[in-house]
Amino acid sequence: MSVCVKNRLGILSLLLLGPFLLAVLLPFLWMALGMFKTNTEFFQPLAKAFFPANYDWQNVTELLKGRWVPFWAVLGNSLIVSLGQALGAVALSAMAGYAFARFTFSGKRLLFVLAVALILVPRQLFAVPLFSWVNELGLSDSLFGVMLPGVVTGLGVVYFTQVFRQVPEEYLQAARICGAAEFRVFLTVLPLVWPALLSYGMIHFILAWHEHLIPMLVLTSETKQTLPLALAKLYDVSQRTPQGVQMAASTFAVIPTAALFALCHRKFKSSLSDMLAH
């Protein structure tokens, strides 16, 4: 295709994408700008006050100083929980996916469907029993009480089953001929699929980051809260948090996942392409 045509197509597509991009970005811009507004300004109709009158950083500094919630502790908790869950989920799902992909055994299909279906049931079903059970295990108000239930994922199993199906049998046979035990074989395959590991880790990190129900039930102390819980507290009307502070917290809540994605974006995409090509 000639460069000229390519450019024209590029511009045309940009024009068509425009409205969608606007629809997506505008609310975020509004949210970020809200950090600087007073309560009255915030509720004004858009046309009148989209941009704040003054860029007052007070709300941001107050939030970061921990006046409303112990911000850094909360952020740290979310990071620990999400990272822990991501690592655990990748380990467990990769191994499970490997088993489903490369072996035949009786009850395989049933087990697969059950394991995945379980995760599809509305989480609320587990709310009260899980709360009670986690407490019995001594994990109440502990970050582990949130992390451990979260390392189980049906989505991950489906994903890795697909990933390991892709690995050429020859590769595995080569490892086996050298007399390696099956687990050793598995370990040698891992570097081959590391983009997939990273990608799924990222997805799981994001899902864990947003989790609300189980953290709400398990974590009681103020210093153990995760970000979604702290946000809920800030939004609660009886807390009387200034809208600007709420917006600042909301904006900061998006940054880690967005940053993570921006970093891993290319590897994620290429591993996805490989996986989906079959």
Partner: protein, 415 residues
């Protein structure tokens, strides 16, 4: 060693666990704990935890059901209290304690039964929760409305029609909670004492129809998200002077208006509710009631005596009651506190009217709320499912009533 054990026995076993259902009150209760320590018991220890208004009953229920870390003292709103009445009530019966502390004489009569059900009393109310009409004194003056002429709802609506016609504003903001409030103003309620639903059908249909009619004529308006408790409402319709009056309890004005409309300081006025003309010809009372927090003791608590002593202190202490009013929280239900001069002063926020005095005058007329296990359900059902249908004319008042009646009668608490 025995001395040590004896001493240990007199010191409080573990801190009292207090759960409150409003973040607003966290500071208040923490200061109450300090005050209690200073005035009554130096060894007293308590842990105060606050939760969101809707979050609290859920957490409480889960902790009661599983028996894990339940609190000793609970601050709960009367609307949500009803939900705990199905089956075994998890709160301690305070009848004997109340009599001993003479609180049955000192708490405003209409509020005594607020947390009572089937002969037992489970909580002490903290606020009088008398409904008044909050009006924009500045706008009334501007539009030439004299609040003293608004003695009945008919007169009110007539004035409202002029306001709509000549100035394009609405006279009153409507909210789903008005159903119960207006019913109680007319000596009825959502439930009857015999447990029936909507015992006075005519009254209910009239109230529902009234709300619908006001919406149609624009005399009434509904806030953006159908709630007068929404910050959005304060910052838009109220801020721009689009509506002139709101029906609210003492805590609505003291707490919410002061917090959310600080720029309107001095522009708000307070007055009694206009009266209904009742079927027998009389005029109804000029106030009503809705919601209001109370303090309850968990039946399973191992420190019920300590809990009660603290509660009694909070309810009766002079300083404690004054603080609640002055810090913009609510007006106490504890009658001896009404003699406190500080509560009867002119109130700057409410254009120098003597808000406290008005409330004391209205106190004898405040109606009772009929407790029922399905009370919370009824309130939320109307709010979430039927209010907007009614308001936008999708359903007729009788239809709404019958549907609600069917649903509430079928909804037995527990199976």
């Amino acid at each position: 060693m025995t001395i040590g054990l004896v001493l240990a026995g007199t010191v409080q076993a573990k801190p009292l666990d207090i759960w409150i259902s409003s973040f607003q009150d966290q500071l208040y209760y923490e200061s109450m704990v300090k005050l209690y320590k200073a005035k009554v018991d130096m060894a007293f220890e308590a842990k105060v935890q606050s939760f969101g208004f809707r979050e609290m009953p859920e957490k409480l229920a889960v902790s009661i059901k599983t028996g894990i870390n339940p609190p000793d003292v609970v601050q709960l709103d009367e609307v949500l209290f009803g939900a705990f009445l199905g089956g075994d009530v998890p709160f301690a019966d305070l009848n004997a304690r109340i009599k001993k502390a003479k609180l049955d004489k000192d708490i405003a009569k209409s509020r005594q039964s607020l947390f009572a059900y089937k002969g037992k009393t489970y909580g002490i109310p903290q606020s009088l929760s008398a409904m008044v009409l909050y009006y924009r004194a500045d706008l009334f003056k501007e539009l030439g409305i004299d609040p003293t002429t608004l003695t009945t709802w008919d007169k009110f609506v007539a004035a409202g029609k002029t306001v709509v016609k000549d100035h394009g504003k609405s006279m009153i903001a409507l909210d789903p909670t008005y159903l119960g409030i207006l019913l109680r103003q007319r000596d009825s309620d959502l439930f009857g004492r015999d447990g029936s639903v909507f015992p006075d059908r005519e009254a209910a249909i009239e109230v529902l129809g009234w709300m619908q009619k006001q919406m149609e004529s624009r005399v009434g308006m509904v806030p953006e998200r159908a709630s007068i408790f929404d910050p959005l409402f304060f910052n838009s319709a109220i801020q721009y002077g689009e509506v002139l009056t709101v029906v609210g309890a003492d805590w609505y004005g003291l707490d919410m208006l002061q917090q959310f409309t600080p720029d309107l300081k001095g522009k708000w006025g307070v007055m009694q509710l206009p009266a209904w003309k009742l079927p027998d010809g009389r005029l109804s009372r000029r106030t009503s009631t809705f919601a209001g927090q109370g303090l309850l003791i968990n039946k399973a608590s191992k420190q019920q005596d300590a809990a009660w002593k603290f509660i009694e202190f909070v309810i009766t202490d002079k300083e404690s009651n004054a603080r609640r009013f002055l810090d913009g929280n609510s007006f106490p239900a504890y009658r001896p506190a009404w003699k406190d001069e500080r509560l009867l002063q002119p109130n700057e926020f409410f254009s120098n009217q003597k808000f406290g005095e008005l409330l004391v005058r209205l106190a004898p007329e405040v109606p009772e709320v009929v407790s029922h296990p399905n009370r919370a359900k009824a309130v939320f059902l109307f709010q979430e499912t039927f209010f907007t249908s009614l308001i936008y004319g999708e359903l007729k008042p009788a239809e709404v009533l019958d549907k609600m009646k069917t649903m509430l009668e079928a909804a037995a608490p527990g199976l």
